[in-house]
Symmetry: C2
Subunit: 148 residues, 2 copies
């Protein structure tokens, strides 16, 4: 029911996997996957990218208000990382008081599309995930009866 819709694509997937997993010249070692995952792993990158993609161009404190709960420090750090990786553009205007605007680069928008895909997947599969957790929790209960 799930393995029949894909046919020749299966091989393709396996090949892609092989390529990702191959040791030295692969996608893991130098920059690619590990780095991209790092951008996803820190607490605020994805959220910042979402908001920049949504709003277009934002000043530092405008973005700060939108990314709920982020500290000034972490917004700075996050934006620096994104800028460093070429996902975000930083434009500073030599005025007083200073004005700094951030926006996604073309690369950033490209990455945003991947994030949205991920978000869509998550939204679409949130139900089975939640169910799985409930089942897991239930099994934990019966496995350790003395706990309760």
């Amino acid at each position: 029911m799930d393995g029949t819709i894909v046919d020749s694509q299966q091989d393709s997937l396996q090949k892609k996997l092989k390529k990702i997993l191959e040791p030295t010249p692969g996608v893991l070692a130098p920059c690619p996957i590990r780095d991209i995952l790092d951008r996803l792993s820190d607490k605020w990158s994805a959220l910042s990218i979402f908001h920049l993609g949504d709003a277009g161009t934002l000043r530092f404190n405008e973005l700060r208000k939108r990314v709920d709960g982020i500290s000034q420090r972490m917004l700075t750090v996050t934006l620096r990382n994104l800028e460093r990786d070429g996902l975000v553009n930083r434009r500073m205007y030599p005025e007083i008081p200073p004005r700094v605007e951030y926006e996604l680069t073309a690369l950033g928008h490209s990455f945003l599309r991947q994030l949205i895909e991920l978000g869509e997947w998550a939204a679409h599969h949130s139900d089975p995930i939640m169910k799985a957790r409930e089942r897991y929790a239930a099994r934990e209960q019966e496995a350790v009866p003395g706990k309760w």
Copy 2:
């Protein structure tokens, strides 16, 4: 050059973004995105999924050998999380010595496809990212001349 291939898809993207970013009933609060990102954020989940997807079914120590550098503890923790979320299936055989086999569930394979997409994106865009970093590093040099 990059904004012309997508036309009516642009609105669609924006709408998806809105949906992802909307506060309470959105994708962020309950389970979805935040949780999925959590799976991506820990150090070993993605890699473990890749290897399970590549190999099919693996015993604990087989997987351990493949996931280079992972400790016994972290493999256990990682697999528990993945099992909890319904991405990995754990099958235990009551033998001596014990044998435990892990494999991706249908949901896990579905997620793997997303990971591969991400990997492909990363591989495909690793060049501009690396270049961006070099530029950033170069700008740092000139900005802080006293450092050198």
